[in-house]
């Protein structure tokens, strides 16, 4: 057993790798051998390989080190050893970005690329392009043009691909060499033709008209190279997606379904099913192609087909069902990746009755597939739970079994996420889910995941049927785990104590033990919670245990302002906007493991931008940005000028941000402003013009308004006009004529300031609505109640809920935005904050009769004007 372990370890260390444990400095020392005369090719090739290995392992070379190694390497050009020379080309490519003066090898490489040794030519071209900068381009242009039309396919391909790479050095390379590329397009060689098409496309890329011409010309000839044909399909589809050239191109792509190369056929099928415009009629023929491929003896074709079907299963489930029989045949495929995709596709499209059978099938090999595909399975299960809530027991058991298996963090996190999502959507699943997660953290090696689960237990456990059963699991963590897990466990315990009074005495005992912990954070938390919890039974203490998640940068700013003030008023935390809750995309793209970056909220990132503008400081200095609206278009698309507006609400101010774009090549706009007529009650504080707006370069101008004192007047319509000084200019260079410009204006759409612009929804899972609702009455909030009949466009309860939330800008509490299907009455619970930090609670009782929704709306707020504004704007 021990011996076995050692073997395994060695294997992980890279056992048979002759290059293991190499040291950079030693290898670079050895590279001095390159300077020896005569050159020893075998020895030098070995050393150069080591250098390449190190660089590819991610070893960083300093400029001096790299330059020294590079120049030593240049001496190897004196050797005629073919292997060594080709290694030198690789070395040049790797070192070219770090070493200095790499152009020293230009002549040596041009000599090789034009020389007699065919083995050198293509590789020399590729190396040459990595060392060429804008200044050197002219010196190699002649050779490159010759190489593109060279009769050796390898040389021609290398030159074409290198031209593409060189576009990053000089944008117009492709255009300058387009004639040669055009000639290469006639090549008999499949690669050359493909690469030539790539260069021709690059040359025309920015000119849609030219691309259209190229594509329609080529669709009429028949390209010999299947690679080129695939590329042409992609080009055609891009045009189709942009609504260019419609019918003819579509027919071309469809005709490719009958191409003699399987690759092209697949590409066409894949393109057609992914084309935005495809309806079920258009899908029929590509699907039947994919269906055919499902039965192919070639694993690559089966894989491609099933992977495409899997992706489609979400968007076009009905169309995919046509292939169910073929997919059934693939679930026992010896290639496990194919089998996994087939099963998960069936799970997505199949009926409820087949779930058990398919899950059993998956279970037979789930341990054999890689984590990446296990995540695919987990995602399919997640989709299933949404589709068939009644199946949650089977699926939960499966998930918990997967949780017990070996697996990396990403895989485990996907499972935990799915369990959490299932619990959220289905109260019946909650108890089982929590139990599985408890069991999992008993033996969880991923700290971050353990911390998340403990947090979740603290949130959800107290409202479960039997909260006490979780205490033991949580306290075990305090005894057994690392400091960060212990700290999370302490917080979870405190949540139980705060929300379940019967548990308080016991938890206090546990927490006082935690005060003896060796870690500062754990002790601090325990001491803090003990101190608060000992004051017992004061409901206002709850937020101190479960603080709302606030936007940290805004909180910091608000506190800094507070310290600068006289501090005679208590700090008002309700001014601070909440942190971004990272919404999980509900339909995660399968196989794309895009990591969610921690991001700033919209408000945080806008605030960062706004606070950099000195003229806005009077507003932004003293007050955090409360809410930023969605973008509203003030122009129709495809007009000369394009103006979009974002409304930024502060406690008493409104900053209007107008993002403008000039789409006229022959005009330069100067002193660009959007002027507004302030509606009644509003005061215009200032405007910041945009000094110049050149063709296609976005620019921004701002208006600052003060909200009316009378809150009722804040919902208003603002007429807007774009004003500027226009100057004619040369479309090619953008340089304006010498003549004076002329003033001009351009009418824009009206801008609406709405209730939602001034309201921030905050409710979410944390809010116990009925407690808050009662507390509001107790604290003397004013209440308004009115009954409405909703308009004819709203015919279902779901639609009523959706439009009400959108209109009011409030957030739904206790998942009350989910309307159970088939009901005729529903209560929507809403919470939020009006600018200036005024709390708002609302309860909407909805009833459906004869496609007519009636609503009784009750609003509670400390400010009667706010409550009034809400009821009056609904009516």
């Amino acid at each position: 057993m021990n011996a076995f372990k050692r073997d395994k370890k060695e294997e992980e260390d890279g056992g048979g790798n002759p290059f293991q444990n190499m040291e950079k400095t030693t290898v670079l020392q050895e590279a001095r051998t390159f300077n020896d005369t005569p050159v020893n090719p075998r020895k030098c090739a070995h050393i150069l390989t080591k250098i390449l290995y190190l660089i590819n392992q991610g070893e960083q070379l300093g400029t001096t080190e790299a330059t020294e190694a590079f120049f030593a390497m240049t001496k190897l050009f004196q050797s005629r050893d073919v292997v060594l020379r080709r290694l030198v080309y690789l070395g040049i490519k790797e070192l070219s970005s770090v070493a200095e003066d790499v152009i020293i090898v230009t002549s040596s490489l041009t000599k090789d690329m034009t020389g007699k040794e065919d083995l050198y030519r293509a590789a020399a071209i590729r190396a040459l392009c990595t060392i060429t900068d804008g200044g050197m381009l002219a010196a190699i242009e002649r050779y490159m043009k010759q190489a593109i039309v060279d009769k050796s396919p390898a040389v021609s391909s290398a030159a074409l691909v290198s031209s593409l790479h060189l576009t990053s050095v000089s944008g117009d390379v492709a255009r300058r060499w387009a004639n040669e590329a055009q000639e290469a397009l006639n090549s008999d060689n499949v690669m050359v033709q493909y690469h030539a098409l790539g260069v021709l496309y690059q040359a025309r890329k920015s000119d849609k008209h030219a691309v259209t011409k190229l594509v329609s010309k080529l669709t009429r000839t028949s390209l010999k190279s299947p690679y080129a044909a695939c590329m042409l399909i992609r080009m055609a589809c891009k045009l189709l997606d942009e609504d260019e050239g419609a019918g003819e191109l579509y027919e071309f792509v469809e005709s490719c379904l009958r191409h003699k190369s399987e690759m092209v056929v697949y590409e066409a099928a894949h393109a057609l099913v992914n084309l935005g415009r495809s309806g079920s009629r258009e899908l029929a023929s590509p699907i039947s192609v994919l269906q055919l491929f499902c039965g192919s003896p070639k694993p690559a074709l089966r894989f491609a087909a099933v992977r495409t079907l899997n992706k489609m299963a979400m968007s076009h489930p009905a169309a995919v069902t046509a292939c169910n029989l073929d997919l059934e045949n693939l679930i026992t495929d010896s290639n496990r990746s194919i089998a996994t995709l087939a099963i998960t596709t069936l799970l997505k499209t199949g009926a409820e009755s087949s779930v058990d059978r398919l899950m059993k099938q998956i279970a037979t090999f789930v341990s054999e597939i890689s984590d990446e595909f296990k995540v695919v399975v987990v995602q399919a299960i997640r989709a299933l739970c949404q589709k068939f809530p009644r199946k949650h027991a089977v699926l939960m058991n499966f998930l918990s079994a997967m949780l017990r298996d070996e697996g990396g963090l990403e895989y485990k996190a996907a499972i935990a996420d799915t369990i959490i999502a299932v619990m959220e959507g289905n109260t019946e699943a909650k108890e089982a889910g929590l139990a599985h997660l408890c069991e999992f953290i008993e033996d969880c090696e991923h700290t971050s995941l353990a911390v998340r689960i403990l947090h979740l237990l603290g949130q959800e456990g107290p409202t479960s049927k039997q909260p006490s059963r979780y205490i033991r699991f949580i306290y075990n963590r305090v005894i057994l785990e690392s400091a960060s897990v212990r700290a999370a466990a302490v917080t979870a315990l405190a949540h139980f104590a705060a929300s379940c009074p019967p548990l308080l005495p016991n938890v206090l005992v546990l927490l006082s033990r935690c005060q003896l912990d060796s870690d500062d954070e754990v002790r601090d938390r325990a001491a803090y919670y003990c101190a608060i919890l000992q004051q017992q039974n004061d409901p206002t203490l709850l937020p101190l245990i479960q603080p709302p998640l606030l936007s940290i940068p805004s909180l910091e700013g608000a506190l800094r302002n507070y310290i600068r003030s006289s501090m005679d008023q208590p700090f008002d935390i309700s001014q601070v906007p909440p942190a971004q809750t990272v919404e999980e995309p509900t339909q995660t793209e399968i196989l794309s493991n895009i990591k969610q970056q921690p991001r700033l909220t919209r408000e945080e990132s806008f605030m960062e931008k706004l606070s950099q503008i000195p003229q806005l400081a009077t507003v932004t200095r003293d007050c955090p940005l409360f809410k930023s609206s969605a973008v509203c278009e003030l122009t129709e698309s495809e007009t000369e000028y394009n103006v979009k507006c974002v409304k930024h609400s502060f406690a008493n101010h409104l900053i209007l941000q107008f993002d403008c774009l000039n789409t006229l090549t022959d005009q330069l706009l100067e002193d660009v402003r959007v002027t507004v007529e302030p509606p009644e009650g509003y005061t215009l504080i200032g405007e910041i013009p945009c000094p110049r707006l050149a063709y296609n370069e976005p620019g921004t101008t701002y208006i600052v308004l003060e909200y009316p004192k009378d809150i009722q007047a804040s919902v208003a319509t603002i007429p807007t006009t774009l004003r500027f000084t226009a100057r004619d200019c040369d479309p090619a260079t953008g340089i304006p004529d010498a003549e004076q410009g002329y003033d001009d204006e351009y009418m824009l759409e009206d801008l609406e300031v709405t209730l939602a612009d001034q309201m921030r929804g905050s409710a979410g899972r944390g809010l116990d609505f009925s407690a808050a609702w009662d507390a509001a009455a107790a604290r003397g909030f004013s209440e308004l109640e009115e009954t409405f009949a909703l308009g004819a466009s709203v015919t279902t309860l779901e639609a009523a809920v959706r439009s009400l939330i959108g209109f009011l800008g409030l957030g739904a509490a206790e998942l009350s935005d989910r309307v159970p299907s088939g009901t005729v009455g529903h209560t929507l619970l809403l919470g939020g904050v009006f600018r200036g930090g005024k709390q708002v609670l609302a309860r909407a009782r909805l009833a459906l009769a004869d496609e007519q929704v009636t609503m009784q709306l009750s609003v509670r707020s400390p400010d009667p004007d706010v409550a009034e504004l809400i009821t009056s704007s609904v009516g």
Binding site: N35, F77, V105
Partner: protein, 189 residues
């Protein structure tokens, strides 16, 4: 030539290999000179300005030369020094009709002679007063004094008027260099 190579191989007279560095201002004729030394079937037909350097090989009197033909353009002159250390001979070419830039050539020569990888070594330097065919080209005597060659104490040197296009003067010049190299490096070993 091929036959001769094989014979010397059979007789155990293995060819000795040496590196020489070919430097001088741009357009002085370095690449043309080296091209002339190469076997006729190896020669390039048109010579373009060198960017960086080129390695060329030729043989003379049973010595195999590896010549580093450096670019003389001012952007690249500072890079010559990377190749000083491992050369056994230097060919310094001057365009003898380019009076204007003689001072520049002298400056480069001074830098070469002072360089730590060159200064203390007994390394033969062959000066070629190239383009002798051009009207009012300077004589070797004038060039030698213009470049201050008599200062060179510790290195064998030699100056010769040449025409790289016709090859005139090149044969005796390379012969001198070969003999020097043979004396210093090969026979001594």
């Amino acid at each position: 030539m091929g036959l001769f190579d094989r014979l010397t191989g059979l007789l155990g007279l293995k060819k000795k290999e040496v590196n020489v560095l070919v430097i001088g201002l741009n357009n002085s004729g370095k690449s043309t000179v080296i091209n002339h030394f190469k076997r006729e079937d190896d020669r390039c037909i048109d010579i373009v300005p060198t960017v960086g350097f080129n390695v060329e090989k030729f043989a003379f009197k049973n010595v195999g030369f590896t010549a580093f033909d450096m670019s003389g353009h001012d952007r690249y002159r500072s890079l010559w020094e990377h190749y000083y250390k491992d050369c056994q001979g230097i060919i310094f070419i001057i365009d003898s009709s380019d009076k204007l830039r003689l001072v520049v050539a002298k400056e480069e020569l001074d830098m070469l002679l002072q360089h730590p990888d060159v200064a203390g070594r007994k390394i033969p330097i062959l000066f070629l007063a190239n383009k002798m065919d051009l009207p009012d080209s300077l004589t070797t005597v004038k060039l030698a004094s213009g470049l201050g060659l008599d200062r060179i104490q510790n290195k064998p040197w030699h100056i010769r008027a040449t025409n790289a296009v016709t090859g005139e003067g090149l044969q005796p010049a390379i012969e001198w260099l070969t003999d020097q190299i043979r004396d210093i490096y090969i026979n001594k070993r």
